[in-house]
Symmetry: C2
Subunit: 252 residues, 2 copies
DNA sequence: CGGCACGTTGAAGTGACTCAATTCGCGTGG
DNA sequence: CCACGCGAATTGAGTCACTTCAACGTGCCG
């Protein structure tokens, strides 16, 4: 498979891109060939490093190959609001292809391997292969659906449910890309960062995770999330995975 | 212009669609002709009526021609979390073109005129005219940026700032589509609904709007939003309109 | 006139916040 | 090998913003 911890190759980047698109869109051979004509530039990010900042005008789109990136807004006092977490296969700044200016920043929450695709190449692919373009488009639409969920998570759910929902979403997405092992998946966030994702203070996050641990729902330790009782956890969270559009039962 | 309160025509629907796309994307004559080949079905909605529900699989995409629609999630106890408000030119369920199942509902917050475009026709337009497709794609990406703002509004801002930010966004968007008159624009939400947008209880919304009124920032009366002091209001809100991508200074 | 939806307001409760202190785990350097 | 330092986790105390509950006003429409 296309996922090692050591130095990845351009071929692996293209494999991962195609694999990711194929997860929600059915690609023809021609689509696949079109994607393979791209020339990714590989790179590595330290924990905490940014790839783009609010206000930038990127000329490439970044794909995560390993590790975790996140989008975030920066408030007037420097506080962060994380908007989304991104794992292997995600393209967290693809919208810059058509929006020009970044309305948020993207940074690494763990050491990460990335691949950059020049906008110019993606644009020519989009003009040439509408069906491949649709796959990319759909990718951004799923993104959008995840944002919508984030709104109701932060707007309506109580503290424990917010954290639980975050856990459910992360685990489900990790399972889709194959980074789970048993009932655990990578989860490099500190409690303070969890708070910046779901809109809670550090102490509240701590009490919420403690309660989830006590009730044998889930636990975070050593940079990993452990699911102890999926049933109970997802029930507490009010988690319904349809919005992740993980299955390929579409028409299009 | 393409905006009357009486019965709109198909031509007006196409005009509005093209006008909206041209606001953020530069359309060629060929693009415009391609859009004009669509066959919208016109309709009218009563206040409170839904056009699609969570779980549906729509076969058309809806454009608002007048009035206001909104997307919303429904919680387990029937409570709503509104996700976005939509005015003339918006396509609040365009994502259904590629996502199949709706992860949220769309309903009317006021009496509204709408135009429906069959998915099949849009799909063939997308295959035929990549540049027109890009305009639609960009439309969904701006949507996405608005969702991102909603996350930080609900996640980080205090009560007054949430309401103020909502006011700023609505007024700015209304100005872009030309439904403002002087310093006021349509705003058909009850205080209770405002609460369901920004994640606050009714009494809190009331106190927030009262405080904004007392400080001469803004006022809501008779279904309209009145901006009393834009400077002060947008400052209170921490409002920065870049995320609305109102200007057309892109490359693409 | 009576009903209804919405705005307005008060009182009491509570969940989450801030501030602050302590502990733990771990890497580093003496 | 141990002392130290640092970031993160853990916990408590006190406060505050927002919630819930409840009541009342007000304007509009049948």
């Amino acid at each position: 498979m296309a996922r090692q911890t050591d130095r990845p190759t351009a071929k692996q980047a293209l494999d991962l891109l195609i694999e990711t698109m194929a997860r929600h869109s059915s690609l023809s051979n021609a689509d696949e060939r079109a994607f393979r004509r791209l020339h990714p530039r590989l790179g590595k990010l330290e924990r905490g490093a940014d790839i783009v900042r609010q206000g930038d005008r990127p000329r490439v789109a970044v794909m995560v190959m390993s590790g975790m990136l996140a989008r975030y807004h920066t408030g007037p006092n420097g506080e962060r609001q994380y908007l989304s977490l991104h794992i292997a296969g995600d393209l967290p700044d693809l919208q810059s292809l058509f929006l020009g200016i970044m309305d948020h920043s993207v940074g690494a929450l763990s050491e990460a391997q990335i691949a950059s695709f020049p906008h110019a190449e993606i644009l020519s692919l989009v003009k040439r292969m509408p069906s491949a373009a649709v796959a990319l488009w759909r990718h951004t639409l799923i993104d959008s659906a995840i944002f919508r969920q984030a709104i109701t998570t932060v707007g309506r759910r109580g503290a424990a449910a917010r954290v639980a929902h975050l856990f459910c979403e992360q685990f489900t997405r990790a399972r889709a890309v194959g980074t789970v092992s048993g009932w655990s998946c990578p989860f490099p966030l500190s409690q303070s960062q969890i708070g910046q994702v779901v809109g809670l203070s550090l102490p509240t996050v701590h009490r919420a995770t403690r309660s989830l641990r006590k009730e044998n729902c889930a636990d975070v330790r050593g940079g990993r999330l452990w699911i102890l009782n999926w049933q109970r956890l997802s029930h507490k969270a009010g988690f319904d995975p349809i919005y992740l559009y993980a299955d390929l039962s579409e028409d299009a």
